[in-house]
């Protein structure tokens, strides 16, 4: 190999300069890629090294401690008692309700946009969906506050938090549904038509099964997007020290707990472990959706 390159060097003047340039370029790309991934590595390192001590069975099975318990433990040099059970249940509860609201609606609107590609009204809907995706989450929190907290539940509630999260999930699900359906080859659709299959059945029985992993990926990414949302929940779900599964009552969530821990000088260690937990969930959802994409192709 080396011999051949040497021979080529004789044949092509300037080849060694080109090879040097190539090496320089490769090195530059490698360096920049390292720069790009270093924040995520540093984040995970920090979360693990500061948070692992608090991760134990109690962390998943006990409610958040009050500030006095935490102060005593910290004073004695022990780990803080209690966990984030109220946050975990609250997050699961609210994301579940938000999913129930957003997934069917998002799928239907996505199918509608795919179906009506060229119609003017569909174009308008598509533009509005894009705008919705750009609305700051705190604004959605405010809207949910006025729509749900003030008029329906007359107080901070899980329902209000779920509503804000559902509005955030909608555009993500709509666009991923539309894009997934677009990627299914026209020939598959035509195969259905040529058998005399009515249009709605082609969508339900041919297109949706064919695009299933794509649709599931979109939904998982939407969930992982909202699971760490804090701002809209502050204005809607408020937070709670109890495990709450009543949609009309204030509810805690993991990101809300992180915010509360941050405001309490005795609970600093719990910030890290809660953040680590949240990060791991999001990572897991992302890996799962990557797996689904890999399966599809």
């Amino acid at each position: 190999m080396a011999l051949r390159i040497r021979n080529q060097r004789q044949d092509f003047p300037g080849l060694s300069r080109r090879l040097a340039k190539d090496r320089l370029f490769k090195g530059g790309v490698f360096f920049l890629s390292m720069v790009t991934i270093s924040p995520i590595v540093l984040i995970i390192y920090k979360l693990v090294s500061n948070g692992y001590r608090q991760i134990n069975f109690d962390f998943f099975s006990k409610k958040a401690p009050d500030t006095y318990e935490a102060m005593v433990a910290v004073g004695a040099g022990e780990i803080i008692p209690g966990g984030i059970l109220n946050g975990i249940t609250g997050t699961l509860f609210m994301v579940l309700i938000a999913s129930v609201m957003a997934i069917p609606l998002g799928l239907l609107i996505g199918i509608f946009l795919y179906d009506q590609k060229t119609k003017r009204y569909a174009g308008l809907v598509r533009d509005l969906v894009d705008i919705l995706q750009g609305v700051p989450s705190i604004v959605l929190g405010l809207i949910a506050y006025f729509w749900v907290v003030k008029t329906i539940t007359h107080g901070f509630s899980a329902l209000a938090g779920s509503t804000a999260l559902a509005i955030m999930m909608l555009p993500l699900i709509i666009r991923s549904t539309e894009e997934t359906l677009k990627m299914i080859p026209e020939t598959i659709r035509e195969a259905g038509y040529a058998l005399g299959v009515p249009y709605h059945k082609i969508i339900l029985r041919v297109l949706i099964p064919s695009g299933f992993s794509g649709l599931a990926t979109g939904i998982l990414l939407a969930i992982s997007r909202v699971i760490g949302e804090t701002a809209p929940l502050m204005l809607t779900a408020l937070g709670s020290m109890e495990v709450n599964l009543n949609i009309a009552k204030p509810t805690s969530a993991v990101p809300l707990l992180i915010w509360e821990f941050y405001n309490d000088p005795n609970m600093v260690d719990l910030i890290w472990s809660s953040s680590l937990f949240l990060m791991m969930i999001v990572l897991l959802l992302n890996l799962l959706s990557k797996q689904l994409i890999a399966k599809r192709t």
């Binding site: 598959i188 195969a191 058998l195 005399g196 082609i202």
Partner: protein, 260 residues
Amino acid sequence: MSELIKHISDPVLEIKDLSVSYNKDKPAVSEVSAGIKRNKVTAIMGPSGCGKSTLLRAINRMHDLYPNIKIEGDIFLNGEDTSDLSTIMLRRKIGMVFQRPNPFPTMSIHDNVIAGYKLNGIRLSKSDRNDIVEKSLRDVALWDEVKDSLTKRGTFLSGGQQQRLCIARALAFRPDVILLDEPTSALDPVATKKVEELLVQLKEDYTILLVTHNMSQAARISDFSMFMYLGELIEYGKTKDMFVKPVDKRTEEYLTGKFS
């Protein structure tokens, strides 16, 4: 050309003054009239863009999907105006096979064959289902190759096998006519030969209308040939006669490779 249409008695399909246009300026198919003979292979030839696929897709009303396509003229299936039939009934009587094999990717081989029944919500007993699947797969000479893997996905087969599976799917309804739109253009020579042999066998039970850009394929397997150019049906006759002694100068030029 028009003489020959009179010769065909009892045509399966009768196309009368059919025009199809995608936009206002220029029709893709203009005023085509022809009768299609029962239990024969009829080939539609012509250079790309001559309207042969457009003509074929008008026959089972695939154009209905696209509201901006305008269609004039009539097509009769066994003397019945096809515009009076629902597309569901029409497409049960006229099967279609496409250029690229397109089995349903989420369905097993078994389910692909009876997809027309399943997707239309037609209930069948288990023994009927199995009979239809076996008969259709035997008709396309695929049964021996796949009988042990009927539950596997259709996309797991080779390209040629997939295309025969798609033909089996079209046969499952026992249609009168099978439309094939360049069915071998995505296949290798060996798979092409198999599909061609199959089509010759199938004409005993079905009428076959085949679009092809491959002249030698038309010469090999068709009984009748149409030559289309710029949306018009230039010449239509027995394949042997057309290849030996084309009537129209344009047909002769096409067949001798002056243009393609």
